[in-house]
């Protein structure tokens, strides 16, 4: 639905595409794909682990655990972080998650509202168009130091940065969705006695919402990027803060462990949103391959 979203087939998509008349082969096919994926991952991690343990590679190439750590060390560090105590990751993770969630929420809500509102008025859409386009094309990262200066080292600047990242994405998608309602459908509802406000609530907003949902997986990544950026620039908590500290102490293991944790957070959030979307938009043709 969103134009800027490249659909990479997840396991559920490839399962849907296989023929329904051959459930057994489909299962075998799905299993084979999963096994191959696990195998590729194992090979990459195995080579990484092995090469950083060979003296020659350690001394003559980049495969020096000081710089690139090694999977076993990273795993051990994550395990260590998960234990309660002074070094626990939980307060940092909570701080990053909280800011991401809040920024995502505020960004989605405001993007959706402005998108629906602007779709109602051709006049205002035309008036605001150059401002929106130029704001959107500015490198958003460039604003992060300014935002930190304005909103301080705490939660506020993280949320504002995430909002700034998410807003335009959601706005553009919602606006496009609200405008995608066909005139025939609106006219049809008029013959059923629908007033403009009723048509807005029952036709335009549901259509726009479907488009908004389509932008959410990207919005999550954007929100997370925004929060981590804000944590890089200036903060005292969060996974991004951990990473800048690891840079200061040249600790590759901490750095990789943080990256793994951030990736896990991102993937889980996207899966969560997809599950919600699947439930809410079950009527959409996109999810018809049950």
């Amino acid at each position: 639905m969103s134009s800027d979203q490249v659909q990479i087939a997840g396991p559920e998509v490839s399962a849907g595409r296989t023929s329904r008349t051959q459930p057994r082969r489909r299962l075998a096919g799905g299993l084979r794909i999963t096994l191959t994926q696990v195998l590729i991952l194992a090979v990459v991690l195995g080579v990484w682990e092995a090469l950083t343990r060979m003296t020659w590679f350690e001394q003559n190439t980049i495969f020096d655990p000081f710089f690139i750590s090694r999977p076993s060390l990273i795993g051990a560090r994550i395990w260590q972080w998960m234990q309660p105590g002074k070094n626990a990751i939980w307060p940092h993770l909570a701080s990053t998650l909280y800011a991401t969630g809040l920024g995502l929420f505020v960004g989605t809500l405001s993007g959706f509202t402005v998108g629906v509102l602007l779709a109602q008025s051709r006049f205002w859409a035309k008036v605001l168009n150059p401002f929106i386009v130029s704001l959107n094309s500015m490198p958003r990262i460039a604003f992060v130091p300014l935002i930190t200066m304005l909103f301080g080292l705490g939660l506020a600047s993280k949320v504002v940065t995430a909002w700034f990242m998410v807003f335009f994405l959601v706005f553009f998608n919602t606006y496009k969705g609200a405008n995608s309602v066909e005139q025939e459908l609106v006219n049809f509802c008029r013959t059923l006695g629908g007033r403009p406000s009723q048509i807005l609530w029952r036709v335009r907003i549901p259509t726009a919402a479907a488009w908004t949902f389509a932008s959410l997986p990207n919005a999550i990544s954007f929100a997370l990027i925004g929060v981590v950026l804000a944590e890089f620039v200036g903060s005292t908590t969060g996974v991004g803060y951990l990473m800048t500290t690891s840079l200061a102490t040249l600790n590759a293991t901490d750095m990789f462990a943080s990256i793994v944790i951030l990736s896990l957070v991102g993937v889980s959030l996207v899966y969560l949103i997809s599950a919600i979307e699947r439930r809410l938009l079950h009527w959409s043709s996109e999810f018809r391959n049950d």
Partner: protein
Amino acid sequence: MSAMIELRHVSKSFESKSGEIVKAVGDVSLTVEKGEFVCIVGPSGCGKSTILNMIAGFMPPTSGEVYVDGARVDRDVPASLGYIFQKDTVLPWYTVRQNVGLGLKFVGAARQDTDKKIDRLLRLAHLSNFAEAYPHQLSGGMRRRVALCMSLAVDPKILLLDEPFGALDTHTKTHLHSELLEIWRELGQTVVMITHDLDEAVTLASRVIVLSTPPSHTLLEEMIDIPYPRDVFELRQSSQFTAHIQRVWKVLGNQFRAAA
């Protein structure tokens, strides 16, 4: 008999993208009596849909006047008018029951009346078993019937149909013809239907109107004197049917040739 729809010397011009004015509807006058079933046929581009849109108040005529039930139509949709589009107009996020009840929600009908009415319409359209289904679970023909029920739910006195069966296969189409006639005979609306399918027009209509190439005017009004109820499956083999087709085709075929 009284006129439900009246077009008096109606014309409609559009500005094309290159800026020139194109006259689609030249000069059309037409009177549709209460309870009639009129089909309008004509070459593409002759403004058939435009005429329906003007009757429905979706667009004003460039010149001339449109009256529905005695009142002049300009930019507002006349009350008690139903319109079925060629495109799918069911809402995918509502069940069949919610879709059919949409118009009643719009006008704020009481819940109890709504349920009864929806049940009756779904029975009439043979959709009772699909009341809780979502549109994506239905076939194209069923979705057409849902759209029809949505319109009928607000008790229109007039039904405007814009090539409603255009995208369907012959089998489904013929079944829907039969159902449409049944519904029309039970509820007694005034129907104006656009089609490019001459067989369909003669099967359904009490009168067929042939329009010319644009700027269009009325070329022929053919009264179809085959009595109702009609058996749409038998009809096509009757000599009456063939005679009507031949008479209309003599005029329409020339237009198609001219338009090509």
